[in-house]
Amino acid sequence: MPTNNMTRLDPNSQAASKGLSDLSIRNLFIIPTIAFLIIFNIFPLLYSLGYSFTDFRASTNAPAKFIGLQNYRELLNDPFIWKNFSITAKYVLISVTGQVVVGFGLAMLLNRAIPAKGLITTLLLLPMMLSMAVVGLFWKLLYDPNFGIINYFLGLGKFEWLADPDVALWAIAIVDIWMWSPFVMLLSLAGLSAVPKHLYEAAEIDRAGNIYTFFRITLPLVAPILMIAIIFRTMEAFKTFDLAYVLSSQPTTELIAIRLYKMAFQEWQTGMSSAFAYIVLIMVVAITNIYVKYLNKVKAR
């Protein structure tokens, strides 16, 4: 952007008295950020791309040997990796759907005049302020079949939430839904409060039903902000590590982030894990792009 379009520096300000031009101030803010981004993001990203074509193992002194696309070939032919991907996809679907339903539902309930609304909203936000590892540890106790409070209240006896391979992933998703629905609720509340009241009045005059009003007025107008919540939550759910790692070690709950961690920092397959990270990165970028395109379409409507 040309400098003459920028807001002029107040000649009486301290910056001006030190002789800093608009350009200098802009650079002062931008250059450290760019440098930080290049050193800690771009450089490692490109460096690991290089490693992904080698057999490098950080735990040995052996030099990295170029092996072309072998790492990618091995990973994409490994049935366990595909299992990790399908587990992750299932987890993202359950978790994000649950968060949208619960979060949006809570926002609808709170989008009206109720006593102590501020306090209730604040209390509902508490779960997402906790640490993932702490949440994992205390839900592990809640789920415990011997003394856990969940089985006690639901009258489920010794039901094994985390030990049953078919249930464990759902159990983890429930915790994620509990923790992150407030985030969706918060964004939905912002969207709901921005819906012009006169639209509801007009619908009421036209004797439109609640369902019709919801699908024709509320949802379309909140959709763009809801999509942003979904994009954030999908990306986060896709890279979930701590919750699943703390709660269960079932093969049916081994998400890609867990497999990647084991490959990189327990097995020290540095080249192979770099390739794996790139495959995950490409997938996340692709999914996000689809969402963003859909978001733009929703906005255009």
Partner: protein, 436 residues
């Protein structure tokens, strides 16, 4: 000016403090966070009293131990002078150039004779039978069993057991007896269960548990010299052992699907099970009334024999190595000279450490010092270990991926599981050019 002066003085004071602390901490030993590390700190405090050289035992939780140690190695960091590393690390740490070669030290001090043979073989030597040594056996350990003496000695239980199985209820001598006893005491309606075994499929937890069965059934994981695995890890004996381990899982308490040493000790302290598998290093806590209300009624036994009389146990424990990147290697070697002395090893055992010194282990004083020392002594002469090759973690991952779905998820058969594991391991060895 005054502010500037104050700042400079503060800076100088901090620098002086830092310099003092650096000088006071002469040697750092890195280990996992558990009781033996506290005992080692007590021991090395005595070294400081003798020599004036302070030694700090720095610890980290078990879950991070391998990752943190190798991250430091990979960075060629000098934060640790010595490390009490797992036996499986020998290949990775020696081939990676992270450990100092202790072969000469080993031979000069005749440690091959001084230390129990199994500890020399598994904690110190790599490759197997090469005569190259990278660690001094420090903390001997293996998997043993604790049990509820009061349940076993209850006359009504003894009578009912004899009527059902035709022999006396006593600590099991075979895996068949172990399974019978687990079945006998498994009474979910009374909130009482048969047995606690390792089922956590991270790192080596469940694999160590399964190894106890496989080794005692007379099978091996493979040929450690030729890297052949087909016909070893999937032999008929190994298949029978895995089937038995899975059977034991059906006698565990509810939710027993991610359990390791903490949960297995809890199974005893909470009065849940009749028998519990665990490393000997965790048994002191079971004799402490403060941590175990059933301490007076807790007994111990060695891993039982298999159907053909073979009796082995999975090896735990660690050796102490000097880190190649340490700036205090000479001091570290002096410390090791002190550590291997008979009187130091005796003191180590008195403090609660599991010495690997053959003389101390064989002494009546050691064997009678605690109710589990005799079982430990017997076990340390019949232990076997996992692969110690640099790619051991990949082998563990394959084992976890194959064994867990069979044991906990009830998928496939034992034969299919072990055939698939043999194939995975063959591919891994092929990838790294071993045995070709």
């Amino acid at each position: 000016m005054k502010r500037k002066m104050t700042g400079m003085l503060a800076g100088a004071a901090i620098s002086a403090l830092m310099a003092t602390s650096a000088a006071a901490e002469d040697l750092v030993i890195f280990w996992a966070e558990w009781d033996p590390a506290n005992f080692l700190q007590e021991l090395v405090n005595e070294y400081e009293e003798e020599t004036g050289i302070s030694v700090t035992v720095e610890t980290t939780p078990w879950a991070d131990f391998q990752t943190k140690a190798f991250t430091e190695f990979n960075a060629r960091g000098s934060a640790y002078d010595m490390i009490v590393g797992d036996s499986q690390w020998l290949g990775a740490a020696s081939e990676g150039g992270h450990y100092v070669d202790l072969t000469d030290f080993f031979k000069e001090n005749n440690l091959g004779e001084v230390m129990a043979p199994a500890t020399v073989k598994y904690y110190a030597e790599y490759p197997g039978n090469s005569g190259k040594y990278w660690a001094i056996p420090a903390e001997g350990d293996a998997v043993g069993w604790s049990y509820r003496k009061d349940w076993f000695e209850d006359p009504a239980e003894m009578e009912a057991f004899k009527a059902k199985y035709g022999y006396d209820l006593a600590p099991p001598k075979t895996w068949a007896e172990l399974t019978d006893i687990a079945e006998f005491f498994h009474r979910p309606d009374e909130d009482r269960y048969g047995i606690a075994i390792y089922t956590d499929n991270s790192y080596d937890a469940m694999v160590m548990g399964v190894e106890n069965a496989i080794f005692s059934y007379g099978a091996d994981l493979g040929n450690f010299e030729t890297y052949e695995v087909d016909g070893y890890v999937n032999s008929d004996q190994a298949v029978a052992a895995l089937e038995n381990y899975k059977k034991l899982y059906s006698y565990t308490p509810p939710g027993w699907a991610k359990t390791f040493f903490v949960e297995n000790n809890q199974a005893i302290t909470e009065g849940l099970v009749a028998m519990s598998m665990n490393y000997f290093a965790f048994f002191p806590a079971l004799l402490n009334e403060a941590s175990n209300p059933h301490a007076a009624n807790t007994g111990f036994f060695a891993n039982p024999a298999g159907p053909d009389g073979d009796q082995f146990a999975a090896l735990g424990g660690q050796g102490i190595s000097v880190v190649k990147y340490s700036e205090n290697q000479d001091m570290a070697m002096d410390f090791l000279e002190w550590f291997i002395k008979d009187e130091t090893q005796k003191r180590w055992a008195e403090l609660g450490g599991y010495t690997a010194s053959a003389a101390v282990l064989e002494s009546d004083e050691f064997r009678q010092a605690t109710p589990y020392n005799e079982a430990f002594y017997q076990t340390m002469f019949k232990v076997k270990d996992f692969w110690a090759v640099p790619e051991f973690a990949e082998l563990l991952t394959s084992a976890n991926q194959r064994l867990y779905p069979f044991i906990v998820g009830d998928e496939g058969t034992a034969k299919e599981t072990l055939d698939a594991l043999a194939s995975d391991w063959e591919n891994t060895f092929k990838k790294y050019g071993r045995g070709q």
